[in-house]
């Protein structure tokens, strides 16, 4: 192989694949990410789906994208792309804004037909000039022509030939970014194991793409991407929703409690239901119920019956479930509620990301109704936090709300498949035979955690009734006594507060000696971490605290934060976590960086935000 003389070495590179929904961009992106991960790169991906289910072909609203960052210190899919693949003029027009000023474009030159230009609402017949693109940075590849030549003898029809276009683009990318073609082919061979003719066609096309790049554009810079040594183990690529489902299954294995899911389809949470429905092969009972309320209620029933019970939803569904969650608070039953946050209020922006359900999770129920709230920081952290949600629910006999969001739910990164002893045994707070012999009552509690004991139907002498009415602290029978109610309210609050004894302490990252601390929570971790790293590199010292345990807060959190002169909370809402912290730190000024555009932060926005706040002070 001829080495190009013009090779750039990069820590990381961001590629954005864009085209019509039917162009196979997600598949091309996916293979690219997995092959890169296999080469030792870190990966972070983000699919950007159009809002419409099937917009007309070639139209601006029908463009779907898949952005991936690969390399070293990769924590986000990248603010802007180094390479943009655009399969038609509409994709070029809508995605150009995601390209770095010096980025490279690979475009299907054959797609620049008058009809396509018209569908994409171009004013002229020269989109490159019209969009102000430097011709030196765009590779106009006659993809359709190349495809037809390559597959002329394949016996495939026109439609079948065009379906291979994504692999032509992938072949080009392999040349440009020095990806091993044999590894790509191995993945394709696995995918088309039962369709050898399709595999053969795609193999030819990938080679054609690579050769085209190599023969005609040797003057373009190609890249070598830094790798990073990861901890030993077996890895796979996983998105946040699948990781969430898997974390719950791990918790079921570690607790010995069978897993029950009661759910109702809602974007962007439905993929958790899909995965758990498949996992009937691991004994999961995943039930699609008649509505959101039945989702949480069936889970409450399963919890009473002794299962690890889960309901999954997004913001509007969480609103519908509030009364049911209140029942689980009152009956003190373990319940995991997963809210994959999306743009709100109401139906809002169903396919877009936000962090706007924090207050709903914390306070969105009638009465004094405290529960544990957690938030996952990344696609793979969804696994850990789903496990944690189940562990806390089962060991502390409480509902737990886990907040994820559309960004980490759909985004993916490399996941080290846990080994046998990576996660602890979960010990359900079962009532003992001895207690049952000695006049156990359903609201007797563990003296340390205040968790009540779990008596599972079928247990001799364990027959008991729970419900939504207030119970007497001593006798566990229904009570309307005022002082008893106050006592029970405080006991339930204290039970949740004491979870703080059973969660990790907050760790400070970045430069702990800095005077400014940047604070985040949940799915913004990658962006905030990258921003903190860039700020420190650029000579602006910042510490970083990222919260995954929201209620209760880690025991040391307030003391640690209190040491900093300047606390800046960056979040994708108008300041919910900042308000929450402010409540706990009344004397302290909490500065804010907020964004509510349905999109993740750009690292640059956080960096600029911190610099501006420091400059204003």
């Amino acid at each position: 192989m001829l080495q190009s003389t013009n090779v750039k070495t990069l820590d990381k590179v961001v590629v954005r694949f864009s085209g019509d929904s039917g162009d196979g961009m997600q598949l091309a992106g996916n293979i690219f990410s997995n092959v890169s991960a296999g080469e030792g790169n870190q990966i972070s991906t983000f699919p950007d789906y159009p809002a419409e289910i099937r917009a007309p072909q070639g139209s601006l609203s029908g463009v779907s994208g898949y952005q991936v960052s690969v390399g070293k210190d990769v924590h986000t899919p990248g603010d802007r792309a180094d390479v943009l693949v655009a399969m038609n003029p509409a994709a070029l027009k809508t995605n150009l804004k995601y390209l770095k000023p010096d980025g490279i474009i690979i475009c299907d030159g054959d797609s620049f037909t008058p009809a396509n230009l018209k569908k994409a609402l171009y004013a002229t017949d020269d989109p490159i000039t019209e969009l102000g693109i430097d011709p030196a940075r765009i590779m106009l590849v006659p993809m359709t022509t190349l495809l037809k030549h390559t597959l002329a003898d394949s016996g495939m029809d026109q439609k079948g030939i065009m379906k291979c276009k994504n692999m032509l683009a992938l072949g080009l990318i392999c040349w440009l970014l020095d990806r091993p073609v044999d590894k790509v082919l191995a993945k394709l061979q696995a995918k088309f194991a039962k369709k050898p003719a399709i595999y053969e066609a795609n193999e030819k096309v990938i080679h054609a793409g690579w050769d085209y790049g190599h023969n005609t554009h040797a003057s373009m810079p190609t890249y070598r991407i830094e790798t990073e040594v990861a901890s030993p183990g077996v890895y796979t690529d996983v998105n946040g929703n699948t990781a969430t489902a898997w974390g719950l299954i791990m918790a079921s294995e570690k607790s010995g409690r069978p897993l029950f899911l009661g759910s109702y389809p809602i974007t962007p949470a439905t993929d958790i239901l899909h995965e758990l429905a498949k996992r009937k092969d691991l004994g999961v009972k995943a039930c699609q119920m008649e509505d959101e309320i039945a989702g949480v209620c069936s889970a409450i029933g399963a919890s009473y019956a002794g299962h690890l019970a889960v309901t999954t939803t997004s913001g509007p569904g969480l609103a519908l479930k509030s009364e049911g969650i209140g029942l689980a608070v009152m009956a003190e039953l373990p319940l995991v509620v997963i809210d994959v946050q999306r743009g709100g209020p109401s139906t809002g922006l169903p396919t877009k990301t936000e962090q706007t359900d924090l207050m709903q999770a914390l306070y969105g129920r009638n009465g004094e109704s405290p529960l544990c709230v957690l938030a996952a920081a990344s696609p793979t952290d969804c696994f850990t936090m789903a496990f944690e949600a189940a562990r806390i629910a089962i060991e502390h006999m409480t509902p737990v709300v886990l907040l994820t969001d559309a960004f980490i739910a759909n985004g993916s990164s490399a996941f080290r498949i846990p080994e046998e002893n990576d996660f602890p045994i979960i010990k359900p707070n079962f009532v003992t035979a001895e207690q049952l012999e000695n006049g156990w009552k359903p609201f007797d509690r563990d003296a340390e955690t205040y968790a009540r004991y779990w008596a599972i139907p079928g247990t001799e002498k364990g027959m008991h009734r729970v419900g939504g009415l207030e119970k007497d602290f001593n006798t566990s029978v229904i009570s309307t006594d005022g002082p008893n109610h106050e006592r029970m309210v405080k006991v339930r609050r204290e039970k949740v507060a004491r979870i703080a004894n059973d969660i990790p302490e907050l760790e400070i990252q970045g430069n702990p000696e800095a005077k400014t601390i940047l604070v985040g929570w949940g799915g913004t971790y990658g962006h905030i971490l990258t921003a903190a790293t860039e700020l420190n590199k650029a000579g602006t010292p910042v510490a970083l605290a990222h919260f995954r345990y929201i209620n209760p807060l880690p025991k040391n959190a307030l003391e640690l934060l209190g040491k900093y002169d300047r606390i800046i909370v960056a979040e994708l809402n108008t300041g919910m976590f900042a308000d929450y912290l402010q409540m706990h730190m009344p004397g302290k000024e909490i500065l804010r960086i907020n964004k509510i555009e349905g999109q993740p932060f750009l690292v640059k926005e956080i960096v600029d935000g911190v610099n501006n706040l420091i400059a204003e002070a």
Binding site: E253, D281, G462, G467
Partner: protein, 341 residues
């Protein structure tokens, strides 16, 4: 014959020490006592029995049971009972709901439980009123019914519970009174023995807010004329001396006196609750005591696959087929992986 020793239970085994706090004279007291007896007759141990209720006067019932039980939230008993039964098919699950809880706020869960045919026994206490909130009309109150929330009479038609059950493709429907306790006990036992969703409508008297609403049907003086108790395989006879019967009249049913107008006992229909076709069951269930007697007893009792059993069977089947030993095993065998040394 070999004598197999089964544990047996008495009504008292299902009763706890709590004093039932319904109004004196409320029909719920009698239904509770009958339920204790029916459970003893069914013979499932208290430890394997779960009683799930919603909100309303009748929904207090689980607190008076010595079984597992949950008094939940308004309208959701069917959904919660579905979770209990799906998770634990080994338990016998009863749902207690009133007409408001089951058919108004809980209407969606009610029809979907029936559609799924989850094996729960729903006792629907129908007193045609909201008692706990002190006297508003319910979804079973007759058109024009005057209550605190309908001072000039309602301007809407009621649901007929049986019609909803059949509309949702229900496989079991039975009806009884809170004062014809032998029949009510029998139908509770039949409901428990039926595999699938069983609805038992108990016409119940609210002594405070809707006193006597069913009396025109249930009073001893008129009961034999205005109601008919259906029994499997028996002629559909009613009247003080069983002198009347139900016969076909074209597509309709007709009440006749045997020996009059040329009708003989041979013309009288025989009840078959097990017929798949539900047309006659519907006609029987919709008889309202005016032209035709109100039907009591088990009106429909048809076998069909139940939800929880099929879920369980599917889980076992795919588990055996795939043979994964753990989450890790599943991921390793189904995902693209790479190894870092």
């Amino acid at each position: 014959m070999e004598d197999i020793k089964q544990p047996t239970f008495a009504a008292g085994d299902f009763k706890n020490e709590q004093t039932a706090r319904w109004c004196p004279g409320c029909g719920d007291h009698a239904i509770l006592n009958v339920l204790h007896k029916a459970m003893a007759e069914v013979g499932v141990a208290p430890k394997d029995t779960a009683v799930i209720s919603g909100i309303g006067c009748s929904s207090r019932l689980p607190y008076y049971m010595n079984t597992y039980g949950m008094h939940t939230i308004h309208g959701r008993a069917a959904a919660i009972a579905t979770g209990v039964k799906t998770a634990r098919p080994d338990l016998t699950v009863w749902q207690i709901s009133g007409d408001g809880d089951g058919l108004a706020i809980g209407g969606n869960h009610f029809i979907h439980a029936l559609r799924r045919n989850i094996d729960i026994n729903i006792l629907l206490f129908n007193n045609k009123i909201y008692g706990l909130t002190k006297g508003q009309y319910s979804p079973t109150s007759d058109r024009g019914f005057v209550s605190k929330s309908s001072p000039y009479g309602t301007t809407e038609d009621p649901f007929i519970p049986a019609e909803l059950v059949f509309g949702a493709r229900g496989k079991f429907f039975a009806r009884g009174f809170d004062i014809t306790l032998d029949t009510t006990r029998e139908i509770m036992v039949a409901a428990a023995r039926h595999k699938g969703t069983a609805v038992v409508e108990v016409l119940q008297n609210c002594v405070i807010f809707n006193h006597g609403i069913h009396t025109w049907l249930s009073d001893k003086a008129v009961r034999a004329e205005r109601t008919i108790t259906l029994r499997q395989g028996e002629k559909m006879l009613f009247g003080k001396d069983n002198e009347k019967g139900l016969v076909r009249d074209g597509f309709k049913l007709k009440a006749v006196t045997i020996g009059e107008d040329g009708y003989t006992i041979d013309d009288v229909l025989v009840h078959d609750a097990h017929t798949e076709d539900d047309i006659l069951h519907r006609q029987l269930a919709l008889m309202d005591g005016h032209d035709l007697p109100l039907a009591l007893g088990v009106i429909r009792d048809v076998e069909a696959p139940s939800y929880e059993a099929d879920v369980e069977a599917q889980v076992s089947e795919v588990k055996a087929k795939k043979g994964f030993t753990s989450l890790r095993d599943m991921i390793l065998r189904t995902s693209e992986t790479w190894t870092v040394e």
